[in-house]
Symmetry: C2
Subunit: 394 residues, 2 copies
């Protein structure tokens, strides 16, 4: 299964145990010297002071082999940056924030990921949306999370979340209900699903998708690990959708990671009478976050990928060659415009621009190409999907 030399796995297992996740000094040290030399020098106490400081508690006691053995007994594998299925692109922003921001670097990319399940970690994030929110979600929040996750999963989008109660669970469950992959990013060791009450969701996620964690088996899900875990949820997703969040919700932390990684932050509004939407509204009001208000699956699809891209990945929804050929004739912007069209109704160019999140002028420019490719037809009040393309699309 694994394509990486055992000594590298062993070194990475040791490094994964030796400091808490997201440590910039340790990550930089490994980046400079490679995992083998870094592990060797750490064990010998031969490292710069900041690295020794963050590893002092476990530097001599950590046992990579024991962790690897325990993992294998539990069906857990270690995926490392040297692996074929390491999702390197997902962590590009974290890397840049460490390397380029000398004054305030971090948090660091992961040194390795412990993984359980049948999916392929490298492809999961190509078209993935995090759906996160309050544990103490309302029925409104759970309903919206379920509908969004189900609709996205049907369109080939992997649903990423933290496996917690409330919004997380509703999102994972709906994706699983759509017979689609879902990705749980756990804060503790994978041998102890947390919370226990969601153990069935973890099991099904392993069967249909993946459960990952930065922490070696046996690690308890402490609070600070949730906060560093949240950066991975954002990193492994094309965009993060916050469905419900109180004013001090952990989901706001995930949202901050999403923004600092330069990913689109999407936010579902709710009743102003609900404290569980107050955090969402606070996000929408932050000018520096440039969060997009989303209401529907289509709103999110307009951001995480076009219909043309998605169709390739969704076996059950593969379109007839005709639609794919037509989409191949138009450019990315036009595909995005096409993706923003409602299933049946006509739509004004202005409204379509809103739905796609691009300028009216760009929509106007895209329409002739879409019409020429037979994808849309123009009507008195705007455009609509060409009837011949309609039934094959959703």
């Amino acid at each position: 299964m694994n394509d990486v030399a055992e000594d590298i796995l062993l070194a990475r297992a040791y490094l994964s145990r030796v400091a808490e996740p997201a440590s910039v000094p340790l990550w930089s040290f490994v980046r400079e010297h490679g995992p083998l030399e870094a592990a060797q020098r750490l064990r010998a106490g031969d490292a710069p002071q900041p690295v020794l400081a963050v590893t002092s508690a476990r530097r001599t006691s950590a046992d990579g082999q024991a962790d690897l053995d325990a993992a294998r007994r539990g069906g857990i594998r270690l995926v490392v940056p040297e692996s074929d299925d390491w999702p390197g692109l997902a962590f590009g922003a974290l890397e840049r924030n460490c390397v380029n921001r000398a004054s305030e670097p971090g948090p660091a990319p992961p040194l390795a990921l412990w993984v359980r399940g049948n999916g392929d970690l490298a492809t999961v994030g190509q078209r993935a949306a995090a759906i996160v929110g309050a544990r103490a979600a309302t029925s409104y929040g759970e309903q919206v999370a379920s509908e969004l996750a189900y609709g996205l999963a049907l369109r080939g989008v992997t649903i990423v979340s933290g496996g917690a109660y409330g919004i997380d669970a509703a999102a994972h469950r709906a994706a699983l209900g759509a017979d689609a992959a879902t990705l749980i990013v756990s804060a503790g060791g994978l041998d102890r699903p947390y919370p226990q009450g969601n153990a069935a969701i973890f099991e099904r996620a392993e069967a249909q998708g993946l459960v990952v964690s930065e922490s070696p088996p046996g690690t308890a899900p402490h609070r600070h690990r949730f906060l560093t875990r949240n950066r991975l949820i954002a990193a492994l997703s094309t965009a993060t959708v916050v469905v419900e969040a109180a004013i001090r919700s952990g989901a706001l932390n995930t949202a901050a990671h999403c923004v600092s990684q330069g990913r689109p932050l999407l936010v579902v509004p709710g009743p102003v009478t609900s404290g569980m939407s107050a955090g969402c509204h606070a996000l929408l009001r932050r000018e520096d976050y440039q969060a997009l208000l989303v209401e529907s699956v289509d709103d999110i699809l307009a951001v995480v990928g076009s219909a043309g891209e998605g169709l390739d990945q969704t076996a059950s929804l593969v379109a007839p060659d005709r639609l794919r050929e037509a989409l191949d004739q138009v450019d990315v912007t036009a595909r995005r415009v096409f993706d923003g069209l409602p299933a049946h109704a006509e739509i004004s160019v202005e409204r379509l621009a809103e739905r796609c999140g691009i300028g009216v002028r760009d929509v106007v420019r895209a329409v002739p190409a879409l019409a020429l490719a037979g994808l849309v037809e123009r009507s008195e009040d705007g455009v609509r999907i060409h009837p011949a393309m309609r039934q094959t699309r959703r």
Copy 2:
């Protein structure tokens, strides 16, 4: 009661009848020649073709004296630009849009306003908020409209709306329930409250505030008059708050007028599962509108005026000299910051900046002055209202 010469009133009454409201050619003609000459020349058919075109139906039959007599019998007075209580500032943006935008002028300011009630039209708009929305409002929308209108009315803000069912009615009722003034801008003649089912609200609004219309007595509330009426709701308000609106709601038309007049547009979000909030979300997504998401009375107060300004106008809430003196010591920005503080809780500078809608840096700069004036005290996690100022404030 009226300070204007009878011949001018008569000319304006005729002009008010002779064309539909918001006619740019007629307004420009009156602006150029004054009401007396304009009325005289129109009756004689001596006017440019565009003016003759918009007045052809009623130019010879209109009877200003009959309208004035009918109005007086019904307790209705005519307020004209020559009157002391003409709200000239409110219509500045409409005037500029007519005069400066040669290619696409309009809609025009009103030529005159028919008014019933005890309030003073000139002062009403100094601190006024329009609260508008769907006629087919949900209980959520009516609850939010009521709470916002009640809270604003208690703080001395005049609630402006259209007297319709749903959000309008909830807003007017709540303002009246706070024993405050409210302003109904009606689409038809004031002798026929529309809708009839809200006649009791019109009566109470006349007793505690004002009902105004551009249309002479006897005019039916046709659809196009609602659309031109909406520009007056926006014009007579410091800001417009949309509480609930379907995707084709008339409230979106009021919102568009608000924006084109350069006024702040405030929007209350709601459940994405509710069609009655879909229009609100569409407004929030329009980048060109720069709408502000609002959740509370304080959010709106931060836009329509500071506590210090409001206290002068609200007899029942006049603060002790101490608070007013303290507020006199700080500048406008600091007053706005003070107004954004929650009644009791402490608040972080970041959150406070959000609530006030100003930059964090400006809040940080304002806090020392506020503390020096004894208005706030700094705490570990931010600032709060000084206890001595707290009880006197709300």
